[in-house]
Protein backbone atom coordinates (compact mmCIF):
# COMPACT_ATOMS: atom_id res chain seq x y z
CA UNK A 1 0.00 0.00 0.00
CA UNK A 2 1.42 3.36 -1.06
CA UNK A 3 -0.04 5.33 1.82
CA UNK A 4 2.01 3.48 4.41
CA UNK A 5 5.14 4.30 2.49
CA UNK A 6 4.30 8.02 2.34
CA UNK A 7 3.43 8.11 6.04
CA UNK A 8 6.58 6.18 6.92
CA UNK A 9 8.80 8.63 5.02
CA UNK A 10 7.12 11.56 6.77
CA UNK A 11 7.26 10.20 10.29
CA UNK A 12 10.79 8.82 10.09
CA UNK A 13 12.18 12.18 8.97
CA UNK A 14 13.77 13.71 12.08
CA UNK A 15 13.35 17.23 10.72
CA UNK A 16 9.58 16.82 11.13
CA UNK A 17 9.86 16.36 14.87
CA UNK A 18 11.27 19.72 15.96
CA UNK A 19 11.09 23.46 15.26
CA UNK A 20 8.23 25.80 14.36
CA UNK A 21 6.93 23.39 11.70
CA UNK A 22 7.59 20.30 13.80
CA UNK A 23 4.89 17.83 14.79
CA UNK A 24 4.91 18.78 18.52
CA UNK A 25 4.43 22.49 17.73
CA UNK A 26 1.70 21.91 15.14
CA UNK A 27 -0.10 19.42 17.36
CA UNK A 28 -0.03 21.81 20.32
CA UNK A 29 -1.39 24.63 18.14
CA UNK A 30 -4.17 22.45 16.83
CA UNK A 31 -5.18 21.26 20.31
CA UNK A 32 -5.01 24.79 21.75
CA UNK A 33 -7.20 26.36 19.08
CA UNK A 34 -9.67 23.48 19.20
CA UNK A 35 -9.98 23.62 22.98
CA UNK A 36 -10.40 27.38 22.89
CA UNK A 37 -13.21 27.17 20.33
CA UNK A 38 -14.89 24.32 22.21
CA UNK A 39 -14.69 26.21 25.50
CA UNK A 40 -16.24 29.35 24.02
CA UNK A 41 -18.99 27.33 22.35
CA UNK A 42 -19.72 25.39 25.54
CA UNK A 43 -19.91 28.56 27.63
CA UNK A 44 -22.48 29.95 25.18
CA UNK A 45 -24.47 26.82 24.41
CA UNK A 46 -24.56 24.75 27.61
CA UNK A 47 -26.35 27.25 29.89
CA UNK A 48 -28.77 28.18 27.08
CA UNK A 49 -29.52 24.53 26.37
CA UNK A 50 -29.97 23.69 30.06
CA UNK A 51 -32.33 26.59 30.69
CA UNK A 52 -34.43 26.10 27.54
CA UNK A 53 -34.56 22.36 28.16
CA UNK A 54 -35.57 22.84 31.80
CA UNK A 55 -38.35 25.27 30.97
CA UNK A 56 -39.26 23.47 27.75
CA UNK A 57 -39.58 26.74 25.88
CA UNK A 58 -37.87 27.92 22.73
CA UNK A 59 -37.75 24.57 20.89
CA UNK A 60 -38.75 26.13 17.57
CA UNK A 61 -36.14 28.86 17.85
CA UNK A 62 -33.49 26.22 18.59
CA UNK A 63 -34.53 24.14 15.58
CA UNK A 64 -34.03 27.26 13.49
CA UNK A 65 -30.58 27.84 15.01
CA UNK A 66 -29.66 24.23 14.25
CA UNK A 67 -30.69 24.46 10.59
CA UNK A 68 -29.03 27.84 10.15
CA UNK A 69 -25.83 26.54 11.79
CA UNK A 70 -25.67 23.57 9.47
CA UNK A 71 -26.49 25.62 6.38
CA UNK A 72 -23.69 28.09 7.11
CA UNK A 73 -20.67 26.84 5.14
CA UNK A 74 -17.82 26.96 7.68
CA UNK A 75 -15.04 26.86 5.09
CA UNK A 76 -16.66 29.72 3.20
CA UNK A 77 -17.14 31.71 6.38
CA UNK A 78 -13.51 31.12 7.27
CA UNK A 79 -12.25 32.54 3.97
CA UNK A 80 -14.77 35.38 3.97
CA UNK A 81 -13.84 36.54 7.49
CA UNK A 82 -10.13 36.27 6.75
CA UNK A 83 -10.55 38.35 3.62
CA UNK A 84 -12.52 40.93 5.60
CA UNK A 85 -10.53 40.99 8.86
CA UNK A 86 -7.07 39.93 7.76
CA UNK A 87 -5.08 37.06 9.22
CA UNK A 88 -5.68 36.43 12.88
CA UNK A 89 -7.32 34.40 15.57
CA UNK A 90 -10.77 36.02 15.44
CA UNK A 91 -11.67 35.13 11.83
CA UNK A 92 -10.83 31.50 12.62
CA UNK A 93 -12.56 31.37 16.01
CA UNK A 94 -15.88 32.75 14.76
CA UNK A 95 -16.59 29.93 12.26
CA UNK A 96 -15.33 27.28 14.70
CA UNK A 97 -17.61 28.55 17.47
CA UNK A 98 -20.53 29.01 15.06
CA UNK A 99 -20.00 25.42 13.99
CA UNK A 100 -19.92 24.05 17.54
CA UNK A 101 -22.79 25.96 19.16
CA UNK A 102 -25.75 24.34 17.33
CA UNK A 103 -24.93 20.68 18.13
CA UNK A 104 -24.24 21.45 21.81
CA UNK A 105 -27.28 23.70 22.17
CA UNK A 106 -29.73 21.39 20.43
CA UNK A 107 -28.62 18.12 22.07
CA UNK A 108 -28.53 19.74 25.53
CA UNK A 109 -32.04 21.06 25.03
CA UNK A 110 -33.28 17.68 23.77
CA UNK A 111 -31.44 15.82 26.51
CA UNK A 112 -32.87 17.86 29.38
CA UNK A 113 -36.33 17.87 27.85
CA UNK A 114 -36.46 14.13 27.38
CA UNK A 115 -35.65 13.39 31.03
CA UNK A 116 -38.43 11.19 32.43
CA UNK A 117 -41.16 13.53 33.75
CA UNK A 118 -41.86 11.14 36.64
CA UNK A 119 -38.31 11.71 37.94
CA UNK A 120 -38.70 15.48 37.79
CA UNK A 121 -42.10 15.31 39.50
CA UNK A 122 -40.69 13.08 42.22
CA UNK A 123 -37.85 15.54 42.81
CA UNK A 124 -40.32 18.43 43.01
CA UNK A 125 -42.51 16.42 45.34
CA UNK A 126 -39.52 15.95 47.61
CA UNK A 127 -39.35 19.72 47.84
CA UNK A 128 -36.36 20.35 45.56
CA UNK A 129 -35.86 23.89 44.29
CA UNK A 130 -35.91 24.32 40.47
CA UNK A 131 -32.12 24.80 40.41
CA UNK A 132 -31.54 21.64 42.43
CA UNK A 133 -33.92 19.73 40.15
CA UNK A 134 -31.88 20.94 37.19
CA UNK A 135 -28.45 20.17 38.61
CA UNK A 136 -29.12 17.10 40.74
CA UNK A 137 -31.76 15.30 38.67
CA UNK A 138 -32.04 16.54 35.10
CA UNK A 139 -28.34 17.16 34.43
CA UNK A 140 -27.03 13.76 35.63
CA UNK A 141 -29.74 11.88 33.72
CA UNK A 142 -29.26 13.96 30.57
CA UNK A 143 -25.47 13.82 30.74
CA UNK A 144 -24.86 10.96 28.25
CA UNK A 145 -26.77 12.79 25.51
CA UNK A 146 -25.22 16.14 26.40
CA UNK A 147 -21.77 14.58 26.14
CA UNK A 148 -22.62 13.18 22.71
CA UNK A 149 -23.53 16.69 21.57
CA UNK A 150 -20.28 18.16 22.88
CA UNK A 151 -18.42 15.24 21.30
CA UNK A 152 -19.80 15.88 17.85
CA UNK A 153 -19.00 19.57 18.27
CA UNK A 154 -15.41 18.74 19.30
CA UNK A 155 -14.91 16.38 16.37
CA UNK A 156 -16.20 18.98 13.92
CA UNK A 157 -13.94 21.63 15.42
CA UNK A 158 -10.86 19.41 15.02
CA UNK A 159 -11.89 18.74 11.44
CA UNK A 160 -12.54 22.37 10.52
CA UNK A 161 -9.45 23.69 12.32
CA UNK A 162 -7.56 21.57 9.77
CA UNK A 163 -9.12 23.49 6.91
CA UNK A 164 -8.12 26.73 8.64
CA UNK A 165 -4.56 26.08 7.44
CA UNK A 166 -5.80 27.28 4.06
CA UNK A 167 -5.98 30.82 5.43
CA UNK A 168 -2.41 30.63 6.72
CA UNK A 169 -3.45 29.30 10.11
CA UNK A 170 -1.22 27.00 12.17
CA UNK A 171 -2.11 23.54 13.33
CA UNK A 172 -1.88 20.14 11.69
CA UNK A 173 -3.69 21.29 8.57
CA UNK A 174 -0.48 23.13 7.60
CA UNK A 175 1.09 19.83 6.52
CA UNK A 176 -1.82 19.00 4.25
CA UNK A 177 -2.15 22.45 2.66
CA UNK A 178 1.62 23.03 2.32
CA UNK A 179 2.13 19.48 1.10
CA UNK A 180 -0.48 19.97 -1.62
CA UNK A 181 1.20 23.20 -2.77
CA UNK A 182 4.68 21.69 -2.68
CA UNK A 183 3.42 18.46 -4.30
CA UNK A 184 5.00 16.67 -1.33
CA UNK A 185 2.65 13.76 -0.85
CA UNK A 186 4.60 12.43 2.14
CA UNK A 187 3.72 15.60 3.99
CA UNK A 188 0.08 15.48 2.89
CA UNK A 189 -0.38 11.90 4.05
CA UNK A 190 1.54 12.51 7.28
CA UNK A 191 -0.69 15.48 8.08
CA UNK A 192 -3.85 13.56 7.23
CA UNK A 193 -2.81 10.68 9.47
CA UNK A 194 -2.08 13.08 12.35
CA UNK A 195 -5.42 14.87 12.01
CA UNK A 196 -7.36 11.63 11.75
CA UNK A 197 -5.47 10.35 14.80
CA UNK A 198 -6.31 13.49 16.76
CA UNK A 199 -9.99 13.15 15.84
CA UNK A 200 -9.99 9.53 17.02
CA UNK A 201 -8.25 10.47 20.27
CA UNK A 202 -10.94 13.13 20.81
CA UNK A 203 -13.59 10.46 20.30
CA UNK A 204 -11.78 8.20 22.78
CA UNK A 205 -11.55 10.94 25.41
CA UNK A 206 -15.29 11.47 25.27
CA UNK A 207 -15.84 7.75 25.64
CA UNK A 208 -13.68 7.83 28.77
CA UNK A 209 -15.50 10.94 30.03
CA UNK A 210 -18.79 9.07 29.63
CA UNK A 211 -17.42 6.21 31.73
CA UNK A 212 -16.13 8.53 34.44
CA UNK A 213 -18.82 11.20 34.74
CA UNK A 214 -22.05 9.40 33.91
CA UNK A 215 -23.37 7.79 37.05
CA UNK A 216 -23.45 4.00 37.02
CA UNK A 217 -27.23 3.89 37.45
CA UNK A 218 -27.88 6.04 34.39
CA UNK A 219 -25.42 4.00 32.34
CA UNK A 220 -27.15 0.75 33.23
CA UNK A 221 -30.50 2.18 32.21
CA UNK A 222 -29.26 3.12 28.77
CA UNK A 223 -28.77 -0.48 27.72
Amino acid sequence: MNLFHYADVFFSNNANWSGADGIPTRLTEHVQYSLMALAIAAVIALPLGLVTGHTGRGGNALALVATAGRALPSFGLLVLLTVLMGLGLTPVMIPLVALAVPPILVTTYEAVRSVDRALVDAARGMGMEPLRVLFQVELPVALPLILSGVRSAAVQIVSTATIAAYVSFGGLGRYIVDGLYQVDYNKVVGGAVLVAGLALVTLGLFWVAGRVFVSAGVRRQQR
Partner: protein, 212 residues
Protein backbone atom coordinates in the same frame (compact mmCIF):
# COMPACT_ATOMS: atom_id res chain seq x y z
CA UNK B 1 -15.28 43.14 -13.88
CA UNK B 2 -15.58 42.90 -10.17
CA UNK B 3 -19.31 42.50 -9.56
CA UNK B 4 -21.09 39.90 -7.51
CA UNK B 5 -21.84 37.67 -10.48
CA UNK B 6 -18.58 38.19 -12.42
CA UNK B 7 -17.08 34.74 -12.10
CA UNK B 8 -13.35 34.60 -12.99
CA UNK B 9 -12.81 32.77 -16.27
CA UNK B 10 -10.41 30.21 -14.74
CA UNK B 11 -13.40 28.45 -13.21
CA UNK B 12 -14.83 27.89 -16.72
CA UNK B 13 -18.37 28.13 -15.45
CA UNK B 14 -21.09 30.69 -14.94
CA UNK B 15 -22.73 31.30 -11.56
CA UNK B 16 -25.54 28.95 -12.53
CA UNK B 17 -22.95 26.46 -13.76
CA UNK B 18 -21.22 26.51 -10.39
CA UNK B 19 -24.55 25.99 -8.64
CA UNK B 20 -25.19 22.98 -10.89
CA UNK B 21 -21.75 21.53 -10.18
CA UNK B 22 -22.16 22.16 -6.46
CA UNK B 23 -25.56 20.48 -6.26
CA UNK B 24 -24.38 17.52 -8.30
CA UNK B 25 -21.34 17.06 -6.08
CA UNK B 26 -23.42 17.39 -2.90
CA UNK B 27 -26.53 15.41 -3.79
CA UNK B 28 -25.10 12.38 -5.59
CA UNK B 29 -23.28 11.32 -2.38
CA UNK B 30 -26.48 11.68 -0.34
CA UNK B 31 -28.32 9.51 -2.87
CA UNK B 32 -25.61 6.85 -2.77
CA UNK B 33 -25.50 7.13 1.00
CA UNK B 34 -29.24 6.47 1.17
CA UNK B 35 -29.01 3.49 -1.17
CA UNK B 36 -26.26 1.92 0.95
CA UNK B 37 -27.82 2.91 4.28
CA UNK B 38 -31.24 1.35 3.63
CA UNK B 39 -30.09 -2.30 3.56
CA UNK B 40 -27.47 -1.73 6.29
CA UNK B 41 -30.04 -0.10 8.57
CA UNK B 42 -32.46 -2.96 7.90
CA UNK B 43 -29.76 -5.39 9.07
CA UNK B 44 -29.14 -3.25 12.15
CA UNK B 45 -32.84 -3.08 13.00
CA UNK B 46 -33.33 -6.83 12.45
CA UNK B 47 -30.28 -8.11 14.31
CA UNK B 48 -30.04 -6.10 17.49
CA UNK B 49 -26.57 -7.36 18.41
CA UNK B 50 -25.25 -6.01 15.11
CA UNK B 51 -26.39 -2.44 15.70
CA UNK B 52 -24.03 -1.24 18.51
CA UNK B 53 -20.84 -2.26 16.64
CA UNK B 54 -22.29 -0.77 13.45
CA UNK B 55 -22.92 2.48 15.31
CA UNK B 56 -19.34 2.36 16.65
CA UNK B 57 -17.84 2.04 13.15
CA UNK B 58 -20.00 4.86 11.78
CA UNK B 59 -19.07 7.15 14.70
CA UNK B 60 -15.38 6.59 13.97
CA UNK B 61 -15.87 7.19 10.22
CA UNK B 62 -17.80 10.39 10.94
CA UNK B 63 -14.96 11.65 13.11
CA UNK B 64 -12.47 11.48 10.22
CA UNK B 65 -11.81 15.09 9.16
CA UNK B 66 -13.06 15.80 5.63
CA UNK B 67 -9.78 17.27 4.39
CA UNK B 68 -7.74 14.31 5.68
CA UNK B 69 -10.23 11.90 4.13
CA UNK B 70 -10.11 13.70 0.79
CA UNK B 71 -6.33 13.96 0.50
CA UNK B 72 -5.84 10.29 1.43
CA UNK B 73 -8.18 9.33 -1.41
CA UNK B 74 -6.14 11.31 -3.95
CA UNK B 75 -3.85 8.29 -4.03
CA UNK B 76 -6.58 6.26 -5.75
CA UNK B 77 -9.06 8.62 -7.34
CA UNK B 78 -6.76 11.57 -8.15
CA UNK B 79 -7.80 15.22 -8.21
CA UNK B 80 -11.40 14.60 -9.20
CA UNK B 81 -14.93 15.15 -7.98
CA UNK B 82 -15.05 11.45 -7.05
CA UNK B 83 -12.40 12.15 -4.42
CA UNK B 84 -14.72 14.70 -2.81
CA UNK B 85 -17.85 12.59 -3.28
CA UNK B 86 -16.59 9.46 -1.52
CA UNK B 87 -16.16 11.08 1.93
CA UNK B 88 -19.49 12.87 1.52
CA UNK B 89 -21.14 9.53 0.77
CA UNK B 90 -19.64 8.06 3.94
CA UNK B 91 -20.77 11.03 6.06
CA UNK B 92 -24.32 10.79 4.64
CA UNK B 93 -24.34 7.07 5.34
CA UNK B 94 -23.34 7.69 8.92
CA UNK B 95 -26.15 10.19 9.50
CA UNK B 96 -28.73 8.07 7.69
CA UNK B 97 -28.18 4.67 9.33
CA UNK B 98 -29.26 5.69 12.88
CA UNK B 99 -32.12 7.76 11.45
CA UNK B 100 -33.50 4.81 9.48
CA UNK B 101 -32.97 2.31 12.31
CA UNK B 102 -34.79 4.60 14.77
CA UNK B 103 -37.55 5.07 12.22
CA UNK B 104 -38.02 1.37 11.54
CA UNK B 105 -37.88 0.57 15.26
CA UNK B 106 -40.58 3.16 15.96
CA UNK B 107 -43.08 1.00 14.04
CA UNK B 108 -45.55 -0.18 16.73
CA UNK B 109 -45.62 -3.89 17.51
CA UNK B 110 -49.39 -4.03 16.74
CA UNK B 111 -48.88 -2.58 13.27
CA UNK B 112 -46.21 -5.16 12.65
CA UNK B 113 -48.46 -7.97 13.83
CA UNK B 114 -51.42 -6.66 11.86
CA UNK B 115 -49.37 -6.63 8.65
CA UNK B 116 -48.21 -10.19 9.30
CA UNK B 117 -51.76 -11.30 10.02
CA UNK B 118 -52.88 -9.77 6.71
CA UNK B 119 -50.45 -12.10 5.00
CA UNK B 120 -47.61 -9.63 4.28
CA UNK B 121 -44.28 -11.35 3.76
CA UNK B 122 -41.16 -9.78 5.33
CA UNK B 123 -40.20 -7.98 2.11
CA UNK B 124 -43.64 -6.58 1.35
CA UNK B 125 -44.11 -5.66 5.00
CA UNK B 126 -40.84 -3.74 4.87
CA UNK B 127 -41.70 -1.85 1.68
CA UNK B 128 -45.38 -1.14 2.34
CA UNK B 129 -45.59 -0.83 6.13
CA UNK B 130 -42.26 -0.23 7.88
CA UNK B 131 -40.65 2.11 5.35
CA UNK B 132 -43.66 4.47 5.00
CA UNK B 133 -43.98 4.73 8.79
CA UNK B 134 -40.26 5.43 9.02
CA UNK B 135 -40.44 8.22 6.40
CA UNK B 136 -40.48 11.15 8.89
CA UNK B 137 -37.41 9.79 10.72
CA UNK B 138 -35.61 9.05 7.45
CA UNK B 139 -36.31 12.57 6.21
CA UNK B 140 -34.98 14.05 9.44
CA UNK B 141 -31.72 12.22 8.67
CA UNK B 142 -31.83 13.16 4.98
CA UNK B 143 -32.16 16.84 5.86
CA UNK B 144 -29.09 16.76 8.10
CA UNK B 145 -27.08 14.77 5.55
CA UNK B 146 -28.06 16.98 2.61
CA UNK B 147 -27.45 20.31 4.31
CA UNK B 148 -24.06 19.20 5.69
CA UNK B 149 -23.11 17.79 2.32
CA UNK B 150 -23.91 21.07 0.55
CA UNK B 151 -21.79 22.91 3.12
CA UNK B 152 -18.87 20.48 2.89
CA UNK B 153 -18.50 20.35 -0.91
CA UNK B 154 -16.60 23.65 -0.78
CA UNK B 155 -13.65 21.92 0.90
CA UNK B 156 -12.99 20.35 -2.52
CA UNK B 157 -11.56 23.73 -3.56
CA UNK B 158 -8.46 22.81 -1.56
CA UNK B 159 -7.45 20.02 -3.93
CA UNK B 160 -7.83 22.16 -7.06
CA UNK B 161 -11.10 23.42 -8.47
CA UNK B 162 -13.25 20.54 -7.25
CA UNK B 163 -15.41 22.42 -4.76
CA UNK B 164 -18.32 23.80 -6.77
CA UNK B 165 -19.18 27.20 -5.30
CA UNK B 166 -16.21 26.75 -2.95
CA UNK B 167 -13.92 27.43 -5.92
CA UNK B 168 -15.00 31.06 -5.62
CA UNK B 169 -13.25 31.13 -2.25
CA UNK B 170 -9.82 30.33 -3.63
CA UNK B 171 -10.36 32.87 -6.40
CA UNK B 172 -11.41 35.45 -3.81
CA UNK B 173 -7.99 35.02 -2.19
CA UNK B 174 -5.98 34.81 -5.42
CA UNK B 175 -7.57 37.84 -7.07
CA UNK B 176 -8.21 39.81 -3.84
CA UNK B 177 -11.91 40.01 -4.56
CA UNK B 178 -13.80 39.65 -1.25
CA UNK B 179 -17.09 39.89 -3.15
CA UNK B 180 -16.45 36.39 -4.51
CA UNK B 181 -16.32 34.92 -1.02
CA UNK B 182 -19.57 36.73 -0.17
CA UNK B 183 -21.04 35.15 -3.27
CA UNK B 184 -19.83 31.70 -2.27
CA UNK B 185 -21.05 31.88 1.34
CA UNK B 186 -24.44 33.41 0.55
CA UNK B 187 -25.18 31.19 -2.44
CA UNK B 188 -24.17 28.02 -0.57
CA UNK B 189 -26.24 28.91 2.49
CA UNK B 190 -29.31 29.87 0.44
CA UNK B 191 -28.94 26.68 -1.60
CA UNK B 192 -28.82 24.60 1.59
CA UNK B 193 -31.90 26.28 3.04
CA UNK B 194 -33.84 25.92 -0.24
CA UNK B 195 -33.04 22.22 -0.59
CA UNK B 196 -33.91 21.73 3.09
CA UNK B 197 -37.28 23.36 2.42
CA UNK B 198 -37.82 21.12 -0.62
CA UNK B 199 -37.16 18.05 1.53
CA UNK B 200 -39.72 19.22 4.10
CA UNK B 201 -42.22 19.68 1.28
CA UNK B 202 -41.44 16.25 -0.15
CA UNK B 203 -41.92 14.65 3.26
CA UNK B 204 -45.34 16.24 3.57
CA UNK B 205 -46.30 14.90 0.15
CA UNK B 206 -45.08 11.41 1.08
CA UNK B 207 -46.84 11.36 4.44
CA UNK B 208 -50.28 12.86 3.81
CA UNK B 209 -51.53 11.14 6.99
CA UNK B 210 -49.11 12.97 9.26
CA UNK B 211 -50.39 15.61 11.67
CA UNK B 212 -49.32 19.07 10.57
Amino acid sequence: MGGFFDIPSDLQASWWGLIGLHLQEALIPVLFGLLIALPLAQLGARFRWLYPPMLGVTTVLYALPSLAFIVLLINWTGLSTTTVEIPLTIYSLVVLIPAIVDGVRSVPEETHAAATAMGFGPFRRYLQVELPIAVPAIFAGLRVATVSSISLVSVGALIGNEGGLGNLLSDALHYHRPILSWNSVITTAVLAILIDGLLVLLRRLLTPWAVR
